[in-house]
Symmetry: C2
Subunit: 594 residues, 2 copies
């Protein structure tokens, strides 16, 4: 089994040469994020991920978290790794210094987040959920709530959870039934929640649950939902811990993957009601959730990337070590299987897609930093527009592609890939959750065509593709043949996006079902092309970097981009044909014809 | 969890209207395979699969087979189901009456095989392996060997295994080290084999192992390999059982899927050597293996189909029952999720691909029957040429597509898909083995471009596409708009195959690595198109059938074919672009650049 080794060189290259980390560091408040600091953060995070968190990945899968006597027990070593993470200050990296954070850019934090995800997806989910709780309380909490909960959430001394789903309310959150009854300044919460990631753990002495519930008498649907802080242990005004709240993990799900992550059924208020504190305004809970949605969706995209990187390292190392068969060109016997063209194609496919995902995730994070911090309002607005367009693409494309890469990783191993001890299969199982949670990829695709393309008449999409077209032309003008060919492939694919957007714009208003039925191919096309554009940008940068030494690495980057153009951008015409020439078949059958 | 229900209506339709079962029944020796008999066989097999074997699928996954005190214990109910299968005569369906078989066509047997695979992949592997042993002994055994082993293998009173793989000899069988030492008329076998499917079981009192080993002094590589019959319990001349042979299952693999199937590490000759009987000529073991390879590869393709069918039924039923969200067209609340266009797209994608796989598997089996039985030598030769071309496509495309369909099946379920109790995830795990064993799909793709396209200068491929082009024109001339559109899409895609074949023919002789690096896209293109052609053929047949009643079912078939054309054949241009416009990137990087 391959140990995880953070790809610091590629991370640094993408940050610096592709997504504009130097410009991010110029934003107000981000001036500490110098080149040196970026290097130091990546190196140190890489060590923790590689030496402490990564080696627990297989143990976590095999042991899983278990519920014993009403308490969750996480796998061996998980708690110790968590406290090393907390003591290193890693939980606080991206948060504002005024709430105890280090105030580093989300762009850099995204690279760091990738390491935790890649090292150990099941472990990384606990801090990932805490981020959501911090954001919600920061944005919508009272000063008192902020003072009470944020300091320990930011350090990681407490963890946070998000409680949305109920058996009848998954994608349709508005169908939830958990209720809140006013009791003085607080509320009593009653209800059952499912799929609660790290709903309990044995790391810390408190867990701060954020729970969606309906206040008695509130309207049906999403307009009657409020958000509550429901601590596992009540917190006294002096910050000390009080009595245990009326909530508990009832059971854990038996899942395909991420076994280490306790996915809890949570019961609130089985006795006299769990004490909950309203956060934000009454009936405005969904808006509070939306505050953190962009970030959460980006993070799940990053998890797709992380699992892909891990699967790629595993497959690459296996292919270099495993000997089998004859070199088809030289006839040499018993060569490492990386010498076989189809194995090499699989490896390049994994490598190219993973690097494109990395560039897309970091780029999306960079747009988020600009949208938050840039002094110029117009620049912030443009960045926000890009961000809103990119979020569903980043979440869905990176998570689908993550599954694809992990699937290919199993294939590289042949029969050994199907044996659990090898470790390749775990990545495939773990990756499978990412296209499902935080809004299924179908929901992302509907968000893309509905809110992000149809609502503004394609303005954001067209502004984005216009920029891509200009950049593709510049890349196509490179003196390097591979880079130029990649630029031409990007330009052709941008044309395919434009045609597909036009189709959505003309079809949506007259037949929204037909438009919706093509939303996933539309998203896949855009993901393929945006990923390809960033690979082209990276290749162009690698041409100049390569001149300054570092030639073999930069040469690989250029060829990897060209592979992406040949093997992935080449599919754009087919995706456009799927969208633009499709008949009315999707809705044509009656339900009983299925 | 959805119970398996054999899709008898579609099976019958494909047999009769797509792959020419009536003509198969006209072949010498197949005259019993009348319409009535076909119906009866499908109905009865469907009952056994649905009522007995299918309900054990989840139990098999959860309990798995285990090795206890040196003996394999299969999951609860597996043995009883096996004996119902044997007592029903199902093991003997396709074999010659002269060895105790029922002499029914392989085409029909393939439909029956699909049912066992779909009902319970882990269970179905045991009889599937026995088929290989029967074929090897029938084709290469002495009369005495046939008399001794075939009767009980054909009834299923004994089971068979294939022992090829060793730790250092997987895809490269020629690297095997197991040795055979002459001992009178027999041999003593010594060696360790891995990945031996049903290497032991608790169903029957004997297991007939077919083992590849190298006779002392034989040449290295594939030219020094011989095939041996190595019974678990030695068989006396009077047919009674003698003493236990020197072989044993050492351990079972912990696998991603097919948990019910005991995948054994087998030790031969740890004491004085396992008694083995040479089958066929010395050093001719690989040729003996090739005898059964076409059939074995077809069967694995059928397993891909079976798992897809099971996953599709599970997803379809869930999508009809699960309510969630608002109808995007009517605004109705809390509708079954099958009403959402993207869910419906996923379902149609699963349905269309599964039906195309079915048609391809049965068609390949039909070519096998014609190649074996047709009185005219030229017709047999043409059928064999088609068969040789179709085998790698059927094996690889149906198994890759099976994984794809099972993956989509999980997605249809949302969060419930990730929970093992739901059952969707098992299909995804089980399906993952099929692209790996019986020659990885990369090996199939190399077989396709090497032995099946380059070796005869594209003659077989071009003859096949010429026929497809003619048939596509006929389909395109249909008075039904959907059928006509499907025919046009097939015709365009056949052009893409021809261009890709030309590229292989011109590239292979000058750069075999580059050709090989495009072998998988080439195979995927051919699979997509041959599947599409058969869907078009089915749709055209459904137009006339629909007139005779049965209209809703036939209407669904037509729309499903049209969906296939719009959403799958539409990708052909992209696959051709991948192949024909690809640069030299796959072999461009040095190994240390990975």
């Amino acid at each position: 089994m391959t140990d995880y080794c953070a790809p610091v060189e590629d991370m640094r290259f993408v940050l610096k040469n592709v997504v504009g980390m130097p410009e991010i560091a110029d934003l107000p408040g981000y001036d500490e994020a110098t080149d040196d600091l970026v290097d130091a953060v990546l190196e140190e995070a890489g060590k923790l991920a590689g030496e402490v968190i990564g080696p627990l990945n297989h143990i976590g899968d095999q042991q899983g978290s278990v519920l014993e006597n009403g308490v969750v027990r996480t796998p061996e070593g998980f708690k110790e790794a968590y406290w090393k993470f907390v003591e290193g200050g890693w939980n606080s990296v991206p948060f504002d210094p005024e709430i105890g954070g280090q105030g580093l850019p989300w762009t850099l934090n995204t690279a760091v987040q990738e390491m935790w995800d890649a090292a150990n997806t099941g472990w990384s989910l606990c801090p990932m959920l805490t981020v959501g709780a911090i954001e919600a309380i920061s944005a919508h909490g009272t000063n008192e709530q902020k003072k009470k909960y944020l300091p320990k959430l930011v350090t990681g001394e407490w963890t946070g959870t998000m409680n949305l789903t109920e058996p009848q309310a998954g994608s349709d959150v508005g169908a939830l039934r958990s209720k809140a009854v006013r009791d003085g300044d607080a509320f009593r919460i009653h209800g059952q929640k499912i799929f609660i990631t790290y709903g309990d753990q044995d790391y810390t002495d408190n867990v701060i649950h954020l729970v969606l519930a309906r206040i008695e008498g509130a309207p049906d649907g999403v307009k009657g939902i409020s958000l509550f802080i429901v601590p596992k242990v009540l917190v006294n005004d002096d910050g000390s811990l009080g009595r245990r709240n009326d909530l508990r993990p009832v059971s854990l799900e038996h899942k395909l993957g991420i076994h280490a992550s306790p996915t809890c059924v949570m019961a609130y208020g089985e006795n006299d009601g769990a004490i909950g504190y309203l956060i934000g305004e009454e009936n405005n809970g969904m808006a509070c959730m939306f505050t953190m949605m962009n970030n959460a969706r980006l993070n799940v995209g990053v998890a797709g990337l992380g699992t892909a990187e891990r699967a790629w390292q595993q497959a690459r190392d296996f292919a270099k070590e495993r000997t089998q068969g004859r070199d088809i060109a030289t006839g040499e016997q018993n060569v490492p299987i990386i010498r076989h063209p189809d194995v090499r194609r699989m490896l390049l496919d994994m490598k190219a897609k993973t690097e494109a995902m990395r560039a897309l995730c970091y780029y999306t994070a960079a747009r988020m930093d600009v949208a938050k911090k840039h002094p110029d309002a117009d620049t912030r607005r443009t960045a926000q527009r890009d961000l809103d367009l990119l979020i569903p693409i980043t979440k869905a494309w990176c998570t689908d592609t993550g599954c694809d890469v992990a699937h290919t990783g199993v294939q590289v191993h042949g029969g050994m890939g199907f044996v659990e001890e090898t470790g390749a299969a775990q990545h495939m199982r773990d990756a499978r959750i990412h296209p499902i949670y935080e809004g299924t990829n179908g929901i992302q695709a509907n968000d893309l065509i509905g809110r992000k393309i149809l609502r503004d008449g394609g303005e954001a999409a067209k502004a984005f593709t216009n920029r891509l077209r200009t950049e593709a032309c510049a890349i196509a003008g490179s003196g390097n043949d591979d880079v130029a060919a990649t630029g031409k492939a990007i330009a052709a694919s941008v044309g395919a996006i434009d045609a597909a957007v036009d189709w959505i714009l003309s079809t949506g208003p007259i037949d929204i079902q037909k438009a919706s039925a093509n939303s996933v191919p539309m998203l896949n096309l855009m993901g393929n092309v945006v990923g390809g554009w960033l690979m082209g940008k990276a290749a162009a940068a690698a041409v100049s970097e390569g001149v300054n030494g570092h030639a073999a690495w930069c040469g690989a980057k250029i060829k990897t981009a060209r592979f992406y153009a040949d093997h992935i951008l080449s599919r754009s015409s087919g995706l456009l044909a799927t969208i633009a020439e499709s008949g009315d078949t999707v809705m044509a059958l009656k339900e009983d014809q299925f």
